[in-house]
Structures are given as structure tokens and as C-alpha cells.
Amino acid sequence: MSFDVLISQFLGGLSVAMLLFLVASGLTLIFGVAKVFNFAHGSFYMLGAYFSFQAINLFNNFWIGALAGAIGAGLIGMVLEICFIRRISGREEEGAFQILLTYAFILIIDDGVKFIWGPAYKTISKPESLAGALTVGPVTIPTYNLFIILLGLVIVVTAWYVLSRTRMGKIIQAASTDTQMVGMLGVNVSLVMSLLFGVATAMGGLAGAMAAPLRTIAPGTGVEIIIDSLIVVVIGGLGNFWGALFAAILIGEVNAFGILWLPQWASLLSFAVMIVVLIFKSKGLFTREQGRKKI
């Protein structure tokens, strides 16, 4: 196998990985920091794609579409958090009910999308400024994929900076560790959590809008992406952005090279990777085990 093929396969895998990371970064925020098991995160991804499709049809501008995808998904996410998810927090078996509730969101959003936009596939095209391709020596990479890779890097740095270097981030982290205590210090924790949920679903929506030119927009795409993003979040360790980035690249590259060497079994490799990781590191790759207190 020639070197060029390997390089272009690697770059292909990297842009898939970054799309995956864009979805997973929102999920890891909800899952790891807000402590909500949001099964419907993929549906916000799908909603983002549909909103951007609609906005592009109206305004004929890709960037307005991307903005509409993010804001639309974020607003809906926040409304759902305030109306439903917040109201079941603190219950016994909270996790199971969260799964159930967000599973219901999946069903409703999927059918809602079918109802509004119809079951047929939709497509949007890349923005003209990014439609070309970049050729370096023997390797060619579409500019749009390069942009996705850069966007992923910007998001991971921003998220890391906001969460660990700003006052807001500290409040969020503290609220995630001890909700009651932070509440007593005069912080409106439920508002913080709603905003966090909104930001996370907006990230999902943005990912959907960004992925739309490379993939098709259709009902059911949210369900397809959720399992892959859950894998990334779990491998990376809940709430860990750098971990999610690494896991996304791992999954993306394993798939990209799996296609070359094991074409028939490539689609199973993500699950195999997660199983191997969890068997050896029971809390994901980048979570420190806190002593031994297991029974």
C-alpha cells in the first residue's frame, strides 16, 4: 500500500473523527458535567441539520444556516430541559427515567421531523468559499474537511478554556460535583444547568449543520449518530473534552483503516474498541480511578 493512500486515508479518518467529536463534545458536556443521560443528543444533531436546511432555503447563506441550526437546537434543548428533565431530577432511579424521557424525545423529534419536512432525503451544498480542495504534493483534501478539522480544534480549546480557566467554568464544575453546596453559595444552579443543556444541544445542532453537506439529512440520522457519540464519550471519560477528542480520532482512524484491511467488519470496530477499552479501563481511558472502594 502506498504512502499517499495511507495519508489520504488518515486525513479522511480525521475529518470523520472531527465531525464525531463535534457531536460528542456536546454530549460529554451533558453527560459528564450536567450528569444527564441524554439519549436524544443525536436528535438535536438531526434538528440542527434540518434547521440549517430550512434557513439556507430562506436566506441562501450557509453561515446563517449553521447559526440557525445551533440556535434552534439549543433553544429546543433548553425548553425540554426546563419543561421535563429538570422536573425529574433527584428522583430514585433518576438515570433510568432520564433514559426513558430522552428516548421519548427521540421518537417524538423523529416523527416531528418526518411530519414537517417529509420522509425524503434532503441535501445542502458546501459554502462556495470552502468548496475547493487543497493539494499538497500527492495528497488532496477538500477545503471543507480541513475547515471541519480546524473547527473541532477550536471547540476543544474553547471548551477546555471556558471550563477550567473562567469563573463560569468553575461554577459549572462545582455545581456538577456538589449541587446543593453551590446553590447555598447563592448560585442559581438550575439556571446554570439549563444554560449548560442549551449550549450542549446547540453544539449538537451545530455539528448537524456542519455534517449536512457531507452527509444526507433524513429522519433517523440522529439515532445512527448517537451510538457512535456515546462510544466516543465513554472511551474518552465522561465530561473530558480532550479525552473525547482522542477517542473520536481513535474511532475515526480505526474505521478509516478498518475499511482498508477488514472491509466487511469495519462497522463493528467501534464497538470492539469500546469493549476492549472498558474491559481494561473500566471508566474510560482518561478517568483517574479514585482509590479502591469497590466491593
Binding site: 421519548a104 421518537l107 464497538f271 472498558l278
Partner: protein, 318 residues
């Protein structure tokens, strides 16, 4: 209503209702009833793990599909006369698989356990689809033969009903046994169970193996129902559906899950025929259940019955 009365009432209702189906002449109704008892066995055995022990597995479809494929593939290859012993083989295969997967996944806590069970089931689903020569892949297996005396909707229903009833009786005895009580203890306070000198991991593993074994029997029974099985029996939406039905019925009650299954299957039959937006309605119902009736149908009935009772909180039973 006291607990003993409730149990007697539910057992009699089960036997009368599903036993009485034998006298119903309607093929469609019998088919629906067969689906309810088979999925009911799946849901009740799942609830041994979930409602009793507090372990949320998102991969029980693995054992449902396993039972179906063991039965289906043997019967398809060797002929209908081998259907019964294939069905007998199912629990053994399932227990062996569950022992290995359980030992690997039960070391993990909470969400990681859930995700690992999900990954195992998805992996098996993928293998079933891709390994065309062995499993005939995405086509599934059609026209699975059965022995003569099980041919026809009614005969097969009687058979399935009897098998399920025996299984439910065994599971019920287990539920009421000291072992069942230990499982409840593990859900409520594993540390304490450990201090009592009991091995928490071993009990969890046993619960996992038993639950998976009965789930696989349900899958084996399903293979004979329509004589048609598909890899989608392994997929995560199958496990998800069972979780929903269990919570809808009531996870703190032995019979709750099968009530959830019955409501779900009947709704699907009625609503599914009149609208294509069936999952929208399911989603809406689920939201109502989660927000307003988290104890499920059985929980609501207990609350209602409690209004007429003299004393005690009816919700305390589990």
C-alpha cells in the same frame, strides 16, 4: 390491598386471561396474545435484573436474539422435529454466554455497565448481519419449521403459554425467595449486603445469568411464532423497547412488566393501524408516564387501591 391478595389476583388474572385465549376463535387475537406472553417473559426476566437488582442492562436483546437464532438455525438446518431440543439447548447456551459477558461487564459501575452491555449486543448484531454464510445476514431466517403438533396459531399459542407460565412460576419463586431478597438488598444498599458476608458480585452474576437464560427462552419461543427471525432482534432499540414497557407497567412489581407489554402491544396494534406517526404517540405516552406516573400502571393501581385501604402505604411493597 394487601400484598398477598394482589399477588393472588394478578396470578389468577394472568391464568384466566391468557388461558382463556384458548377458547377465542380469532386468529389475530391469538397472535397478539402469543406476542404478549413471549415479550412478557422477556420483560419480566429483564426486570429481575433491572427492577430487583438495580442493574440497567441495555443489551438484553442479545439474549433474546441468541435464543431465537439458536432455535431458528437448528430447526432450519435439521428440520422441524429438532425444534424442541433446540429450544432446550437455548437456556444452556444463554447461560454460558451470560456467564462470560456478565463476568466482564458486572465489574463496571452504573453507566459503564450499561454501555458495555449495549456494546456487546451491538457487536453481536453487527456480526449477525455481516456473517452472511452462517446467519444469512440481513435476510434473517424465514420459514423455520416446527413439529407437526405445534403447527397452527392456536396450537403454538398453547405451547408458548405453557412454557411461559412455567418460566414465570420459576421466576416468581425466585423473586419471593431469600435470593430475591438479597437482590433487592443489593439494589438498595450493596455495602450492607457485603457486610452481611454475602458476595455482591457473585449474586449479581447469578441474577444476570438467570435473567439472560429466561430472556433467551422467550427469544426461542418467538422463533417458532411466525417462523421468521431477523438480526434486528439484537439491536439496541429492542432492549430499549423492553425497558420502556417494563417502566410503563411498573418495575417494582413482579407482574408489572407484562402489563406494560400488554398495553404496549395492544396500543401498537390499534394506533399503529390508524396512523403512520405511531412512534410519536408512544413518545407522548412515555413522557406522560415518566412525568406523572413514574410507578407505572401497577403503581397507579396500588395508589388507587390504597385510597380504600385502612392503613399503610401501598407503595411500600416492592
Amino acid at each position: 390491598m394487601n400484598h398477598r391478595l394482589e399477588t393472588t389476583a394478578l396470578w389468577s388474572a394472568y391464568v384466566l386471561l391468557f388461558g382463556g385465549m384458548i377458547f377465542v376463535k380469532n386468529e389475530h387475537a391469538i397472535h397478539i396474545a402469543a406476542q404478549i406472553v413471549i415479550l412478557g417473559l422477556f420483560a419480566i426476566s429483564f426486570n429481575i435484573l433491572f427492577g430487583n437488582t438495580g442493574l440497567l442492562s441495555f443489551g438484553q436483546a442479545l439474549f433474546y436474539g441468541l435464543g431465537a437464532y439458536v432455535t431458528g438455525m437448528i430447526a432450519k438446518k435439521f428440520g422441524g422435529d429438532h425444534f424442541l431440543w433446540a429450544l432446550l439447548l437455548v437456556p444452556l447456551v444463554a447461560m454460558a454466554v451470560a456467564l462470560v459477558l456478565g463476568a466482564l461487564s458486572l465489574r463496571l459501575s452504573d453507566v459503564y455497565f450499561t454501555m458495555l452491555t449495549l456494546a456487546f449486543a451491538q457487536l453481536v448484531w453487527g456480526i449477525t448481519i455481516k456473517w452472511y454464510d452462517f446467519t444469512s445476514g440481513d435476510d434473517g431466517i424465514q420459514a423455520i419449521p416446527k413439529p407437526e403438533f405445534l403447527a397452527g396459531g392456536l396450537h403454538y399459542y398453547v405451547f408458548a403459554f405453557l412454557v411461559v407460565t412455567v418460566c414465570l412460576y420459576l421466576l416468581w419463586r425466585l423473586h419471593r425467595s431469600p435470593f430475591g431478597t438479597i437482590l433487592k438488598g443489593i439494589r438498595q444498599n450493596p455495602t450492607r449486603v457485603n457486610f452481611l458476608g454475602l458476595n455482591v458480585f457473585r449474586h449479581k452474576l447469578l441474577a444476570y445469568v438467570i435473567s439472560s437464560c429466561f430472556t433467551a427462552i422467550a427469544g426461542g419461543l418467538y422463533a417458532g411464532l411466525d417462523g421468521s427471525i431477523h438480526p434486528d432482534m439484537f439491536v439496541w432499540t429492542m432492549s430499549g423497547g423492553i425497558i420502556l414497557m417494563t417502566i410503563l407497567g411498573g418495575m417494582r412489581s413482579f407482574f408489572g412488566p407484562i402489563i406494560g407489554v400488554a398495553v404496549f402491544v395492544l396500543l401498537e396494534d390499534v394506533v399503529g393501524r390508524s396512523t403512520q406517526y405511531w412512534s410519536f404517540f408512544i413518545g407522548a405516552i412515555m413522557i406522560v408516564v415518566v412525568m406523572l406516573f413514574p410507578k407505572g400502571i401497577v403503581g397507579v393501581s396500588r395508589q388507587f387501591a390504597g385510597l380504600f385501604a385502612k392503613k399503610g402505604d401501598p407503595l411500600e411493597h416492592s
